[in-house]
Symmetry: C2
DNA sequence: ACGGGCTATGTTAACGTACTCATAACATAA
DNA sequence: TTATGTTATGAGTACGTTAACATAGCCCGT
């Protein structure tokens, strides 16, 4: 019996034409009812709505998008959904997207391997997106040479600036300056650094900020330590420092998780925080996990970042595609893990 | 000068027809090249690819989807991206989706207010999705009466079973039994419960498991305490218990964050963990945040859950839509926050 | 020389929508 | 009565893609 002519419920989804047939009106009238347009007789409207209900009509996203050339969705490409930075990115962008009645088309690339911007762009471009957002948490091999696809807004979330692509990020360099200035004001000079993995862009900039702050004060930076963002790696580093460096008065850990680990290590080594050693972190991410969070840190307004990212990826008419560089400053949160250094 | 005829780069995106014109071939040949089909002369292929590059061709998702009736994307509707449960859901589903070369269309509903399944379904159905996944972390007002949209796979992630919709979740009831059995085996009987907010479905089932386990042993359950999943709320509850209940020998906190807070409170109250009081949690979520995580807990295989959810939302040919109930068991992780109770 | 099978390419149709325009029925004003 | 406007509805079209079919050229064996 092959393909049915089209008026019954075959396996094909129900279209406006099917509804129209059932309600005895034209397809155009169904369209009007579906979109709540005026100039439809009340009785007709009800008849059409009944038919829609009856047949289980679902408006075709493909047809609609093909017709009016917009997808009402923004593409987001990240390497690993669960990493704190990416998670907060999704959250911020989700908020912004919701304000614009926009969905998010999420693609997760390899969790471990680096990926090229060209590859990410190619994949995203074939999806229903009005703009492309790429989270570049580690340097892409083709960052310098990358050209964005013309005709579609592209934003890279990273601290590196690009001549032809708008980049937006929290200011992972400036946060270090905020924290270092706070420590300097308290009187610290011997400030050790526990960083994240060196391939991380955030790490590179947080570390550069630490180093530049020291050099600006003509203090020779000591060897930075490298962790993996986890509390355990912070603990290891803190243990090492407690045993090998009795001149340090402060530790700057590049995220709160490592800072939390470092504090535990210092205390296990018989050092008091903040009396003997001050500790600072970044992200303000401990509140849910640790009772009485006392860590001095920097908080980023991730919703603002999400908004900026979104609005540059999907520019409203007029805001058209100038390439810009946006760095959103963090806010210093002073708690009780920092104090004046011991004499 | 109105609308250009169509052979130059107006504001309209570049279509296969544009590429075809530029390369001097038919549009169908461009399609063949774009999809890597055989039977294209090598010279022609190169000419077409050059034209694509030149014009910045982007395949139209709308056209393609309209044509072949599939979107290669699965819809995911959650209330709050950042909540641990939802985050892990996204992660698990992202993995499964990637294995099927599928994207995720993510919609965040109101973070605070409850939403009806009908509303969520209606919104998701208008998006480019081959299946719909709804995270129901709090009871929807229309759960009982909800009918899924015919013709599109629908899965609700929740512990409640539904007669007409497949539901999948980690076993938030069974995890309580695992933990309680562990505590019973050690010899505990006075086991207090610190739960999450009572509107949470996970909370409802974890708590029911605690209560049923006690009743099965003919132990009268004591009054459960209610937190908000945060370490601080766990601390408050722990403090309260330390001061008001000297007969308890164990605390079951409904997630690790509250358990961590409770442990801190007990220690601040002069009680040792696990010597005086054993503490267990759920989720195994502390590793990144706490050094030397010693909490006995239950870990869920979230990737397995993601796979199950995905594959029931987007059934492969043949697996067609039977309504099933899937509860994925957790795994007991015994660390050092539990011990034999003091005499 | 000619039919049969291959390869490369073109032509047509269909997917579902919403815009533009046309038309019919009807109300109102001159 | 006729001109003019308003409202409800329908017809036609274009959006970009791919499957199915059609065609043209070529090589090969008889």
């Amino acid at each position: 019996m092959a393909r049915r002519p089209s008026n019954d419920t075959g396996s094909r989804p129900v279209s406006m034409a099917d509804v129209a047939r059932a309600a005895g009106v034209s397809q155009q009238t169904v369209s009007r009812v579906a979109n709540g347009l005026p100039n439809v007789n009340e009785q007709t409207r009800q008849r059409v709505q009944a038919a829609m209900q009856e047949l289980g009509f679902r408006p075709s996203y493909a047809g609609r998008s093909l017709r009016d050339g917009r997808y009402h969705s923004v593409g987001l490409c990240v390497n690993d959904v669960t990493k704190f930075g990416n998670l907060t990115m999704i959250d911020g962008i989700a908020s912004a997207a919701r304000e614009h009645s926009c969905a998010i088309t999420l693609v997760e690339m390899s969790k471990t391997e680096e990926f090229s911007l060209a590859e990410a762009t190619r994949r995203m471009a074939a999806l229903p997106v009005d703009g492309i957002i790429i989270g570049m948490s580690r340097m892409a091999p083709d960052f310098e040479t990358f050209d964005p696809l013309p005709g579609i807004g592209t934003v890279i979330v990273t601290m590196y600036a690009h001549p032809r692509v708008t980049t937006v990020d929290s200011d992972h360099y400036g946060c270090s300056l905020l924290l270092m200035d706070h420590l300097f004001e308290l009187g610290h000079e011997q400030i050790r650094y526990i960083g994240g993995p060196s391939f991380s862009v955030d790490e590179q900039f947080r570390r550069a900020g630490w180093q530049d702050a020291l050099e600006r004060k003509h203090i020779e930076p000591t060897e930075p330590l490298e962790g993996d963002w986890s509390a355990n790696s912070g603990y290891e580093a803190g243990r090492y420092l407690a045993e090998h460096d009795r001149t340090m008065t402060a530790i700057y850990a590049a995220n709160d998780q490592m800072a939390n680990g470092a504090i535990a290590a210092l205390r296990d080594s018989g050092l008091r925080v903040p009396e003997d050693v001050s500790v600072v972190g970044v992200d303000d991410s401990l509140d849910d996990f640790v009772a009485h969070n006392e860590l001095t840190t920097v908080r980023f307004d991730l919703h603002q970042r999400g908004r900026e990212v979104f609005e540059h990826a999907v520019p409203e008419a007029g805001t058209a595609g100038k390439t810009v560089v946006i760095r959103i400053p963090g806010q210093l949160i002073i708690r009780h893990s920092t104090a004046i250094p011991r004499s």
